[in-house]
Amino acid sequence: MAFSIFKLRSMTGPFFTLVGAFILNMFPWGNSPWVPDFLLITLAFWVLQAPDKINLLSAFLLGLLMDIQTSQYLGVHAIVYVVACFVIIYQQRRLLNSTLLGQTFVMLQVFFITNFVLLLIVWVIGQSKEISFAFLIIPSMIEACLWPIFKKLLSNRASFINHHQT
């Protein structure tokens, strides 16, 4: 019994920050390559820090929500987020063992792959005529630049929760 409450409380950190990131994504940003995907960054952080709580299934479900919100075909963001999480789990040790700067460079690759998959799916479906480089490079760069900031913010939140647990 005590264990289940314990676990529930440790879920609140990821839950609220992910909801917060989703709301951030919902602001009327408009249609431009300069807008990063905040949910993707937050999801990446939690998959890296707490892979037992946030896994591929949560990524998939969040992706479906994101598809409804952007009125995209259902499943596009779901696949994109699952791929992102997979790559992070694949690179987990490298990411956890490197410095913040090194981590940021690895994350740049991850975000690059993610955005490429997104554009690829959209291209295969036939919504866009070609894969535009602006939409590939600019969001990846911005998301990578935001990574240290998000990591700092979210780690504080995570330590806060852990502190209460013990």
């Binding site: 009327p28 896994n55 995209q72 596009v76």
Partner: protein, 299 residues
């Protein structure tokens, strides 16, 4: 469970899970894209998310509200006077407009022109445009409860902006002219030449297709709706021809046009409550589906 080693050490990359989710995702995309089977899920999700979206899109409204509350009596009185005088002016203008309208109708009859039907319109506000680089869509705050139906045109005061493609209860989604595969039948105002205008993408201008290479077209020609398909009322401005490329490499002339209405600048627009008189398929339906329907009919 307690005996298993910490997750950090026991997990390799979950290839099996990845393949499972990729497969599931592809199936869902297929179901949505080809079979349109997920409208129900979308409806539920949209109903959940819409209030939040509306809230986030107008943070300025709250401050406006509080300012209104603290207005003084004198300023209200002054406002009232101004408005009543304005109302008088407007009444006068309305009377004049009535006179002009009747005169106009009379002249039209004399010329035995076809009388243009007066299309009713509904003012709507753009709630947000989705964060997606591929589609040129906007959400507006009018839905089936206000009488909006799929296929109705949307327009600003300058001209046609697009068409409603998906209707929810209190909101609906509209495709803009630039949306890929968006098609609208037009005619050239100057000489009545008929053609079809296609959307390409946001970064490229609209394209006029199915015209003769030697057709009488010039840069600066105005294109208006022809009303042939029954979806759009006739005679509303759509676009201006911006560039003509008659090089012999292509099979026909490549004619680029730019929309007259500013598609990304308006916060308010009007939905023309114009009932489509034919059962033409919506422009969002993909070519594949259309071809399959045609084949079925052929069999």
């Amino acid at each position: 469970m307690f005996r298993s080693p910490p997750t950090l050490f026991n997990q390799g990359a979950p290839f099996l899970k990845l393949f499972f989710f990729l497969l599931l995702g592809s199936v869902i995309i297929f179901a949505d894209y080809k079979l349109h089977a997920t409208e129900k899920i979308r409806l539920v999700g949209n109903n959940l998310l819409f209030p939040m979206q509306q809230l986030l899109s107008q943070p300025g409204k709250l401050s406006d509200l509080s300012l209104d509350y603290f207005q003084t009596r004198s300023s209200l009185k002054q406002q009232l006077e101004e408005q009543s005088s304005q109302l008088d002016n407007l009444r006068l203008m309305a009377n004049q407009a009535e006179v002009l309208e009747s005169e106009n109708a009379h002249l039209r009859k004399l010329l035995s022109l076809q009388q243009k039907s007066n299309v009713k319109s509904l003012a709507a506000e753009v709630v947000f445009s989705p964060l997606s680089q591929s589609s040129q869509r906007i959400m507006i705050n009018r839905g089936s409860a206000d009488g909006v139906k799929s296929g109705m045109p949307i327009a600003s005061e300058a001209g046609i902006m697009g068409q409603i493609v998906r209707v929810f209860e209190n909101s609906s989604e509209a495709a803009l002219l630039e949306d890929r595969d968006f098609a609208i039948p037009v005619l050239v105002e100057r000489n009545g030449l008929r053609a079809v205008l296609f959307g390409v993408s946001r970064t490229e201008p609209l394209e006029l297709r199915y015209v003769n290479n030697l057709a009488d077209l010039d840069v600066g020609d105005h294109l208006i709706t022809s009303g042939i398909d029954g979806t759009y009322p006739a005679g509303i401005p759509v676009a201006i021809i911006s560039k003509i490329d008659r090089s012999s490499e292509n099979f026909g002339a490549t004619i680029a046009c730019k929309p007259i209405a500013k598609l990304h600048h308006h916060r308010y627009l009007s939905v023309l409550l114009y009932q489509p008189t034919t059962t033409a398929p919506s422009p969002t339906e993909s070519e594949v589906v259309k071809n399959r329907l045609r084949q079925k009919k052929g069999n």
